[in-house]
């Protein structure tokens, strides 16, 4: 009988971690639906980028208020997780505060966790105000699930931190009462002010409060862990690979499509036989599609980007098209990509491992051409993203599909392109007049 709590704990732990692992495998599977792109180079620079941008939050603090609040919550999250390690060991072994033997250092740790927990609560309150009360456009424009998602995450944080402090407060009271198993350990700079609430209660009641808070806290963490898959909050994990695999090239450099290079080389080669059968094996595969009309046409880093996006909206708030009232919103590009990718993934799960055409695609069903054509390719969104996402690369890949597969560019652009084709300039001037300026 005495092992029942341990057994229940292990079951909860295995179930929580197991379900989470199952969903994370889905995320990885979905990301791998993307086309291959080689990001195995420059390991040193990639680690540095990850250390600076994800671990070091260097781009977060470019907006100081949101940035500093975020750093507090982030540090709280990481550091308080050391305490979760103790909770898990205690839970499995049936011990209580197994790290208490660390003595003064343990006091320091618990004390720091408490102060951080308080700071997290304050920050989360301010975050909530920013999202719901203060008039900040990038949050005001969120409706429905994305808005609720943002708030639910904050409520989770409040509940978890409150349970953590309640647990400690009750523990402190029990320590002072000299209850069994409750060794005197830890420093409680915050919960010592909560502890007096339990004055006069029986040892049994306080014990129930302590155990209740302990259990709800760890179960809450497991629920929160599993919430990530359904939420924008996946960034707490994916920010690391996302910054590692981010594009390191200058922002102005767009990739040169290799499939096009091969065709261009063939066209430019005077010795190529225009009637020759395609080189290579006899594979009957379809010719490669140019650009992207659906998520599987994007590369896996772009799909990773979409799962990593936290929907903070810094990209959209910096976008010149969005600021001047156009429909384009880089944040929406990322959210649409993730929603469609999730839809494709669910479709695969439902149909026993293979995708069954659902008559939908990313283009038009999610992202309209009006959005795509409003982009100035200025890279403001890429610069603004605190975790290295590039909405621009998706926009360009979708434009490529529109132009090269569908010839569906706006008329003005078609005129510009035929000018380039015919006379080597975007305007209808003769190439032979190119030097006329020198004697005008």
């Amino acid at each position: 009988m005495q092992y029942i709590p341990n057994i229940l704990f292990v079951i909860a732990l295995v179930a929580g971690v197991g379900y989470f692992t199952k969903n994370i495998r889905k995320v990885i599977r979905n990301i791998r639906l993307g086309k291959d792109v080689d990001r195995s180079d420059n390991k040193g620079e990639r680690f540095k980028n990850m250390a600076m941008v994800a671990l070091g939050q260097s781009k977060m603090v470019r907006r100081p208020i949101a940035g500093i609040l975020h750093v507090i919550v982030y540090l709280g999250f990481i550091i308080i997780n050391i305490e979760v390690l103790e909770i898990i060991i205690d839970g499995i072994l049936g011990t209580h505060r197994i790290f208490a033997f660390l003595g003064g250092f343990y006091d320091f740790l618990i004390g720091s966790f408490e102060i951080l927990a308080l700071l997290v609560l304050v920050s989360v309150f301010l975050f909530w105000m920013r999202r719901n009360v203060i008039n900040i456009k990038r949050f005001k424009t969120l409706k429905g699930w994305p808005k609720n998602d943002g708030n639910i995450i904050l409520y989770f944080e409040v509940v978890l931190m409150t349970l953590f402090l309640t647990m400690n407060a009750a523990d402190l009271q029990l320590q002072n009462l000299g209850a069994d198993h409750y060794v005197k350990a830890g420093a409680y700079p915050v919960s010592q002010y909560i502890s007096p609430l339990f004055n006069g209660m029986s040892e049994g009641s306080i014990f129930l409060i302590e155990r209740g808070a302990w259990w709800l806290h760890i179960l809450g963490i497991l629920v929160f862990l599993n919430y990530l898959y359904f939420s924008k909050h996946l960034h707490i994990l994916l920010a690391f690979p996302n910054t590692y695999y981010a594009d390191l090239k200058p922002q102005g450099e767009f990739d040169n499509l290799e499939a096009v290079t091969n065709e261009v080389k063939l066209m430019m080669d005077p010795s190529a036989d225009p009637f020759a059968a395609p080189a290579g094996d006899e594979s009957e595969g379809e010719p490669e599609k140019f650009g992207a009309s659906d998520v599987v046409d994007l590369n896996w880093v772009q799909l990773l980007n979409s799962y990593t996006c936290t929907e903070c909206g810094r990209c959209t708030s910096e976008c010149p098209a969005n600021q001047t009232g156009k429909k384009l919103s880089p944040r929406k590009i990322m959210m649409d990509t993730r929603d469609r990718l999730q839809e494709v993934g669910d479709n695969i799960d439902k149909n026993g491992g293979s995708f069954v055409d659902d008559g939908k695609q990313l283009l038009n069903d999610y992202i309209t051409t009006e959005e795509l054509w409003a982009c100035t390719s200025c890279n403001a969104c890429v610069e603004a993203c605190p975790i290295g996402i590039s909405p621009l690369s998706i926009i360009i890949d979708m434009r490529r599909y529109l132009v090269m597969e569908q010839s569906a560019a706006p008329t003005d652009l078609n005129n510009m392109m035929s000018n380039i084709e015919n006379n080597g300039a975007p305007w209808p001037f003769n190439q032979m007049d190119r030097l006329n300026w020198s004697n005008e």
Partner: protein, 263 residues
């Protein structure tokens, strides 16, 4: 604008069996756009003043393909690129300078993997290097004490992290360089990039160039300095829209330096 400037072509150099120090890539705007041609001439005057041995491709130059690529026409871009690279490689070009950030970005970043590997400089970088080498002197002249604000072209700034060269040049004019609230990596686009120059904007409530002109006017400038022929057009249109053309000039950095010396 009826003054002839000395502009040798690569073909002429080749005929004499010589190689210039640098190829000046003029670009389509610089060749054909009336406003941008003035920038081209100003830059050529500076090159001549500094005794730079340069040449242009002239009628052998063609669009880099930038607007086609940003519009999504990778095919047309690569056709342009491969054609230009053939010409440049035949002339054994090593170093290229251009007054257009779009040409600059494309030549510098997107040509190498297609076989065109050159040292590419924006004209503000090149002028800065002439200044540092003592080949060019810059004086304030009529711009002494003027309030000048610099609009960062996206394809020079964010795209390639060139922020200081144009500013270093402007500071030499002994004017007052005043930054807009949004500048350098936070600079706002003029609205022309991504092939927007060649089409009508999508429906909205404002044009991007008006938004940016308002940023610039906030600094109460005498001059809005630009480093891109397209930004120049957009900002000039913005100033006209605000009916400020009598009090605010839009000038390229090269024009500022050339005009200051009455070249």
């Amino acid at each position: 604008m009826s003054e002839t400037v000395k502009v040798p072509t690569m073909a002429e150099y080749m005929a004499e069996g010589k190689q210039p120090e640098v190829l000046f890539w003029v670009g389509c705007a610089g060749s054909f756009d009336d406003r941008a041609k003035k920038i081209t001439k100003a830059f050529v005057k500076l090159l001549n003043k500094a005794n730079v041995d340069f040449a242009v491709l002239g009628t052998e130059e063609s669009c880099t393909g930038d607007p086609a690529k940003r519009a999504g026409n990778e095919f047309l871009f690569q056709m342009q690129a491969v054609t230009n690279i053939e010409v440049m490689n035949a002339y054994e070009i090593k170093k290229v300078v251009t007054a257009c950030p779009h040409c600059f970005n494309t030549l510098k970043n997107e040509y190498p993997s297609l076989g065109g590997d050159y040292e590419v400089m924006h004209h503000t970088q090149f002028l800065k290097s002439l200044l540092d080498e003592g080949r060019l002197t810059i004086e304030g002249g009529k711009f002494k004490g003027k309030r000048i604000t610099f609009h960062d072209p996206c394809y020079l700034g964010r795209a390639n992290n060139v922020y200081e060269a144009p500013r270093d040049l402007i500071k030499k004019l002994e004017g007052e360089l005043i930054e807009m609230k949004r500048c350098k990596r936070n600079g706002l686009c003029c609205g022309a990039g991504g092939a927007q120059m060649f089409k009508e904007p999508e429906p909205g409530n404002k044009d991007v160039n008006i938004e940016r002109t308002e940023d610039a006017l906030e600094t109460k400038p005498d001059i809005i300095a630009a480093g891109c022929p397209f930004c120049n057009t957009m900002m000039t249109d913005g100033i006209k829209n605000k009916e400020k053309e009598d009090s605010v000039q839009v000038l390229d950095v090269a024009e500022l330096i050339a005009n200051a010396q009455d070249l």
